[in-house]
């Protein structure tokens, strides 16, 4: 079966169509959990029947079968008699509204009443089409735990009004979270996050959706130059820029420019602009730091975030010198993550090597990840000589 190209082909198509069909059912008024059950049954039927001949309109076939499964289930459940009345009044299948359906699903899976972890799991399951086992492996928890996380999220959504306008900000935050958490398991979450954000950006006129997509593409473009053959992380200044994915960078810049042209700035557009300026520089020395600093000013104004303020201190250090950078760091609360790392870096630039070494060690102690800890420990060791 694995070697049968037709089957493999069907599998990819089914994974792509499943979430769309789910979106159609939900838009017609089916509750989320029952709709998902119905879509799963329809997919199983497709796996059984398509090898004998795929229907001319696979999506239409799935919608018809899933809707029948849904109505069958509703009728079979006497306790749901009232819902049956409502669903009989549902509109007849209309023309394809694929973009709307995807967005509707994202709004549901990223409903503000869900915790971030539940929203992430449900989004990957219901919109991304990943199996529960795949999501569990990726987040390194047992499958029953992940199954419960998803099932509780669905329960939380039960009875939530489906016609309420969705919260795009929450959707974008969840997608960003998926992108950032990538690379721990079997699935390439960064690629999956980009796939989902493409759908969100295509369906939404909000320039922040495009801004987030641009940001992801610009970061993803550098994924092959981040690690040495030994698995050590390489800072941007030392990366081999010939290994950057120029196509992704061009696409990211293009999407960003269209978003910026709408003149409705947001934090993702500002972050993408900073990433684009780095990606544009032929070498680290040719980086346009004054313009990067301007974008940090925008970012700090937009977000009022101390993390952005700490980042801005680095840019100030590049533009006005490390001492100027240090005086900015001193206005940022010391509890902000990586405060010591920034002070270490600026002290090194200023020639205070002993202080820099001590601060790198302090920063390594507080590092939230293994690669970051190892990197900072190596920085301290470098200054020991």
């Amino acid at each position: 079966m694995i070697n049968n190209p037709v089957m493999d082909d069907d599998e990819g198509l089914l994974r792509e169509l499943g979430p769309r069909v789910l979106g159609v059912l939900v838009r017609r008024g089916a509750d989320f959990a029952s709709a998902e059950d119905a879509v799963q049954e329809a997919l199983i039927e497709a796996v059984r029947r398509w090898p004998a001949g795929r229907p001319d309109n696979p999506r239409g076939w799935l919608v018809t079968v899933a809707w029948r499964k849904y109505t069958d289930a509703v009728r079979a459940d006497a306790a749901r008699a009232r819902r049956e009345e409502r669903e009989q009044a549902a509109p007849a299948p209309g023309p394809a509204r694929q973009a709307d359906d995807t967005l509707l699903l994202l709004f549901l899976a990223c409903h503000p009443t869900l915790t971030p972890a539940s929203a992430v799991a449900l989004t990957l399951r219901a919109v991304g089409g990943l199996t529960t086992a795949q999501i569990a492996r990726t987040y390194m928890v047992p499958e029953p735990t992940m199954a419960q996380r998803i099932s509780r999220a669905k329960t939380t959504l039960r009875g939530k009004p489906l016609d309420a306008p969705g919260d795009l900000r929450t959707v974008l935050k969840v997608l960003y979270l998926i992108f950032n958490e990538g690379y721990t398991g079997d699935e390439d979450l960064a690629a999956e996050a980009i796939r989902l954000t493409r759908q969100a950006a295509a369906a939404s006129a909000e320039p922040e959706a495009a801004g987030l997509l641009a940001l992801m593409l610009l970061h993803h473009a550098r994924r092959h130059s981040r690690l040495s053959p030994a698995g050590e992380l390489i800072p941007l200044a030392q990366q081999d820029r010939s290994r950057w994915d120029m196509e992704l960078i061009a696409e990211g810049v293009d999407i960003l420019q269209h978003a910026l042209a709408q003149d409705r700035l947001g934090e993702y557009q500002a972050q993408a602009a900073i990433a684009a300026l780095h990606a544009d520089a032929p070498s680290a020395e040719e980086t346009d730091w004054p313009q990067i600093l301007e974008w940090y000013d925008v970012l700090v104004t937009l977000t009022d975030s101390p993390v952005a303020a700490l980042n801005r201190a680095v840019a100030v250090g590049q533009v006005d010198g490390p001492l100027a950078g240090l005086s900015v760091v001193n206005t940022v609360p010391a509890e902000v993550p990586r405060h010591a790392a920034v002070r270490a870096y600026l002290n090194e630039q200023a020639g205070n090597l002993a202080a820099a070494r001590a601060l790198y060690l302090e920063a390594a102690q507080a590092a939230p990840s293994v690669p970051e800890r190892d990197h900072l420990t190596r920085q301290a060791a470098r200054l020991q000589a």
Binding site: P116, A117, N180, V370, E372
Partner: protein, 147 residues
């Protein structure tokens, strides 16, 4: 979401509470059964909340082992039962906040001990370092942090 290791210590850590002073060999059979049933219950509850990762108990005594030289067998010391700090077992949870990790640790520490009273055992809570994330944090752009 972040993972935390909840460590149960036989020995070590802050001063024990009165009900945890008596070691388990002085408990009745029923008290011991109730205690372990509670541990299973905690794992069950945390699976249902989507937070459980793993739980293991450890034998009380262990052996210290180290490398000696090329071609030589490992050097061992022990087994020691009487070290200053001894770990009885652990639970790993994946939770939304440190506060939630503390709640879960307190739940574990409410396990019944002698006379069915909560042991009030101290649980050490240690956050995991993440195995490596694609942080899009802009500090990376300065070459300051790994990208």
């Amino acid at each position: 979401m972040a993972k935390y290791l909840l460590l149960k210590h036989y020995r070590g850590g802050p001063e024990k509470m009165p009900d945890h002073e008596a070691s388990m060999d002085q408990w009745t059979e029923q008290e011991i059964s109730d205690h372990f049933a509670f541990m299973d219950h905690v794992a069950q509850v945390l699976t249902e909340t989507g937070e459980f990762v793993d739980s293991q108990a450890l034998a009380p005594s262990g052996t210290f082992v180290r490398y000696d030289a090329e071609g030589m067998p490992p050097v061992t010391e022990g087994p020691f039962a009487e070290t200053k700090d001894l770990i009885a077992g652990w639970m790993i949870v994946d939770v939304d906040s440190e506060q939630r990790a503390h709640e879960v640790a307190a739940f574990l520490s409410s396990a019944p001990g002698r006379g069915g009273r909560p042991t009030q055992e101290w649980i050490e809570v240690r956050p995991f370092l993440t195995p490596g994330a694609t942080v899009t944090d802009t500090l990376i752009e300065a070459g300051l942090l790994p990208a």
